[in-house]
Symmetry: D2
Subunit: 396 residues, 4 copies
Amino acid sequence: MSTQNPVFIPGPTNIPEELRRAVDYPSIDHRSPVFQEMLAPVLAGLKRVFMTKQGETLLFPGTGTGAWEAAVTNTLSPGDKVLAARHGMFSHRWIDLCQRQGLNVQVIEEEWGKGAPTGAFEEALAADRNHEIRAVLVTHNETATGVRSDVSAVRRAIDAAGHPAMLFVDGVSSIASMDFRMDEWGVDIAITGSQKGFMLPAGLSILAISPKAKLAMASAKCPRCYFDFRDMLKLNASGGFPYTPPVSLIRGLDRSICMLETEGLHNVFARHFRIAEGVRQAVSAWGLKLCAKEQKLYSDTVSAIVVPSGFDGTRVVTHAAEKYGVAFGVGLGEVAGKVFRIGHLGSMTDVMALSGIATAEMVMADLGFPIRIGSGVAAAQEYYRTSCGSVQTKAA
Amino acid sequence: MSTQNPVFIPGPTNIPEELRRAVDYPSIDHRSPVFQEMLAPVLAGLKRVFMTKQGETLLFPGTGTGAWEAAVTNTLSPGDKVLAARHGMFSHRWIDLCQRQGLNVQVIEEEWGKGAPTGAFEEALAADRNHEIRAVLVTHNETATGVRSDVSAVRRAIDAAGHPAMLFVDGVSSIASMDFRMDEWGVDIAITGSQKGFMLPAGLSILAISPKAKLAMASAKCPRCYFDFRDMLKLNASGGFPYTPPVSLIRGLDRSICMLETEGLHNVFARHFRIAEGVRQAVSAWGLKLCAKEQKLYSDTVSAIVVPSGFDGTRVVTHAAEKYGVAFGVGLGEVAGKVFRIGHLGSMTDVMALSGIATAEMVMADLGFPIRIGSGVAAAQEYYRTSCGSVQTKAA
Amino acid sequence: MSTQNPVFIPGPTNIPEELRRAVDYPSIDHRSPVFQEMLAPVLAGLKRVFMTKQGETLLFPGTGTGAWEAAVTNTLSPGDKVLAARHGMFSHRWIDLCQRQGLNVQVIEEEWGKGAPTGAFEEALAADRNHEIRAVLVTHNETATGVRSDVSAVRRAIDAAGHPAMLFVDGVSSIASMDFRMDEWGVDIAITGSQKGFMLPAGLSILAISPKAKLAMASAKCPRCYFDFRDMLKLNASGGFPYTPPVSLIRGLDRSICMLETEGLHNVFARHFRIAEGVRQAVSAWGLKLCAKEQKLYSDTVSAIVVPSGFDGTRVVTHAAEKYGVAFGVGLGEVAGKVFRIGHLGSMTDVMALSGIATAEMVMADLGFPIRIGSGVAAAQEYYRTSCGSVQTKAA
Amino acid sequence: MSTQNPVFIPGPTNIPEELRRAVDYPSIDHRSPVFQEMLAPVLAGLKRVFMTKQGETLLFPGTGTGAWEAAVTNTLSPGDKVLAARHGMFSHRWIDLCQRQGLNVQVIEEEWGKGAPTGAFEEALAADRNHEIRAVLVTHNETATGVRSDVSAVRRAIDAAGHPAMLFVDGVSSIASMDFRMDEWGVDIAITGSQKGFMLPAGLSILAISPKAKLAMASAKCPRCYFDFRDMLKLNASGGFPYTPPVSLIRGLDRSICMLETEGLHNVFARHFRIAEGVRQAVSAWGLKLCAKEQKLYSDTVSAIVVPSGFDGTRVVTHAAEKYGVAFGVGLGEVAGKVFRIGHLGSMTDVMALSGIATAEMVMADLGFPIRIGSGVAAAQEYYRTSCGSVQTKAA
């Protein structure tokens, strides 16, 4: 696999030069003021990215899965009930994690390709007269299906049901790439990793917690130590860390936040929309459909493209890797073989996206898909060249 | 704090050029054969470093603490009894972790500066007629006190007591720097991190487990998901990972193992002994003592030096950082203020060690310690120059 | 200007990861055996790349221009006559350099877009009864016009005229990218730089000299010191250098030669042809023409594309940079404004080339060129996808 | 040779992290505004480092030797007379270069270890009634002998003789490390390279020229093209370069100037003095002498240490490299074997210097030199620890 071409997996993303430099650094003493002066601005910057003023942010050496585990073990007790929908591989795996931590998960099965079922959530919450449901779990962006759920609608459903449940959001493939508003949407815990919107190597579990979630810490009885919020919050307060911190990724995160804010979060989101929309124009020109069932569900970070009947989505990915040295994402779980995915998040330009679209097109032609070579690229080019200026004007 | 000078903390260590390059790499598709071909040799190489043929090795994004948590949650159930001694900050913290995971820890308090109390362990095990003790926990190298414990003696004690307990070893600051023999010593789980003997940035929990420990997985009831051996072993078998792997550190680990084996593990240990012995010659020339009570306990990766009565070990560390831009380790826990620590593990040469010794000497002179300037350096120089050739001859 | 997108200038090229690593290295002692052991294999490897067994190779800190100066000052004397054709900016500049070094240049003016005028050379040489012409200068690949000249035909012309003139070749934008055979073609001096086919940063003048050229050193009276072959050859023989060598670039060159030979020079040339041919298919689909007048003159490293009458080639380049963050080459000298250039040499894949073609297409559409969006990309895609496999088969 | 230990050669120096990052960068289009915006501040910053307001600065891909060649060929004509003293390898080589460029060098032989002979210069200039001497050449810091000459005294000698000769200064191993004042000292051309005080890899010839030197360009008849000031000045004025610029080193130079000015040039010089003085205290404690004959001649960038009679200085260097992996400098020319050199310029701390001193001491002990182990280090430690604070206070 060549390292010359960009990757088009839905994370880890392409890493900008500036972040590679920030991460590649000699060892420093993490018990010295140097580290203390590094950590606090990063935690503060994360609040701005998560759009929370009242919440607190935490970092653990880990991944998104670790962040999930941290979220539930720090706020819940074995046997506690949580409400979740299964409509993709990542919502599925979060449910599995909760069950293995001894939680009682009320699962709503939803079609893969649809979003979080707000109505069903509201019903379930309304039916929960004793308020046994402690938290509602939402996957903001289902990376497996390229579906964005409406988190604020879930909050409204909770509130409409007059329910005190907390709202936990998996923002692994949305935060720092797509609009996310922790405080405004009433999110109690939001989690992500370093290798998506933050454009860094994998290795950091990143969380923000609301005052309500923080309060839940005291009564939570799930055993925990490595991911314990209490040690982390206590030590962070004086610039410390409960064990050896991953200094190089934290340095990288500092620069990442700076890059995001220099571009402007609003512009980062707009860029992701534009690049995604170019991909969607190509999909449309190919006569294909996205896995996401409706336009309002379309993810701006990953597009899961349904292959025509009789074709194999996984073959698209292996062929692209073998013949062209380009990485796309395979379908996972229920949509394995039925889709292939183009990741278009993080460090990405129109020009890079076009090379991914062009490659996908060549692959499909090679495999005999009924598409016309050049058609998708042309549609994307037309979209990019006409939309590019106006966005840049707004950014200025 | 300058990045020009080496660090003399007991980890993270100085990172060799070659490993910095290996870690600093563009994103690849971790679901592709490229990753599969990367992972297997690393896991195999780790077995050679841990000196186990029958065991299996695992990697998690995490730290040594994460590895501790993985070790106990994958093999034990809440309420299970384990036996441990507290004789330093890291053995203390491991005990705390076990307690927070719901284990029943039988703690033997031992003086800080002494090693694992083999006799007391044997007594406790002999007294445990019902074999309730499921595991004995040993900190091979107490980083806080610079004490190396005799792991094989603990195994002999367990066997002498005819006890079936497993033997878990914290090798965070010993493995890949000091002689460690998993199979020969009958160790069931050994853990470490990436930032010590492997000379990488922090971010990897590294474990090796014996067939007996693996068997214990099935009955272990501690809740776990992120650190679950079962998912990891199952997926690793086909080159997969249960979540996004920290590819850059795994690449680095591959090169690290290669560097260690190119030098020869035997030579790596001999080098650590030599460099440590030079530091000890200096300590002796200064008329000071190590925290480690006996010569046989002396660690080859970190020396905790007891400051004269009336002086403050922590001040040595802050003064070295502020005036000379050099990082040493402070005393932790019971020995806070009473010692300062010189880390001498990982990527280190005689020449680098001399600059650390010379700096410590200047700092002590600055602070009015009753030492003669140049005395420690001279003792170390004399040791290094006379021992250097012979070791190199052996290495050839 | 983004560093995310590839560059499409005809050098410096995109630098592969592996070469960036090789160049980024701590200082070493260039008077030590480490340097001696580094230099000799590089000089030997260069011979293989230049395809010379009887010649010798030399490196100076400098550029292609420096190599030109080295070539003429080390083999000629003020007043000596050389024969050259002017048919592009780089042949023009070489002539200028010779004149400033006091040489008497017999200039044949040729149309820009044509190659070295073999017939006119033969006539001039035949007319030179007294054999006053000491050397014939040929620009193998005119970077300004994207024209490849037939060097072996020039050698045949010299031989046909029974003339003893030496043959000097500017291979700056051909060597290590396009077929070049020093010995077989009877070349006496060939020169290049580090930043083209060798895919390194600029900073090295690279030369190969035949035994005949070496013999000419003794009588050459042009003053020289920095670029003096005599000091360089003498000191190189024992691993030395007449002044501080650019160690990092020499390390890079070592890896570059290794990369080229691992791919296979034959495959490197075939890849350059394929990538260039894709660009040419796009040009043809756009209904445009290359500056190069005939197919046999087409360069495989750079394409100079003639813009339609009434349009400005330079505007293509500035617009691409400003709106899309992509670098192309402007027209130089006589073809300024009349062409824009796509560089496609060095570290380049089909996928990268497609992003350049797609960008050029968007730019031309933005500027109102009479081209159909997607047409060039589609033609290139079709060519790449059908030609890709066969070449890879040959490479295996 | 290890890359773990610092180098103690008198250039190339140890390269700071920040400069390695700046140099390691993807290719950019050197004809774009990006390069134009990079070059001008570097040229302006160089003026501040050279301490010239009225002069102009120039950069060529090359070395100090290239800068010498540029200096004389751009301002003089074949047959022109220049005045120079030979008192070390580098003054010797500059004389040789002038002779090969056809200049008539009036050479004053001076003892190696002494400085530029101001008195002899004044006599020679006074005797030159017809003002045939066009330039006086001074090696500010003779790297071979560790001798700093008094450049301002040479200017006074020229003026005292009422002579219009230009003053050319080789500042290769002084500029950016030791006090140098172009305008105040009436220097007409000063030259250096990137690999000394600027702490970068080798590869840049750096010059500053006075208005008088610039005026001399017009009449200079030495043939030149690669190093021609006229093209360079003309193209630099609009952000251009006469050929492919070494962009990565120019980027590095930008950061280097920033680092120097952030520390403060005055503090940079003071640091070099302090570090050098520590080395000199060690030499004195060893009972050895410097090659430099008088205290006022002591260089702050390199110390050439005379070995006791019967010992071999070159052996010190090879032994240090082979046994300890540390690079020192050998004696060159007339002092070959008689001295060894410790380079202490560029990126250097007290702590790094101590490791070099300690190593030299071990080497000398190994080779049977009559020195006491630890003595030199102790003297340097004592000096560093007592002088460190005050300098840092001044810097604040």
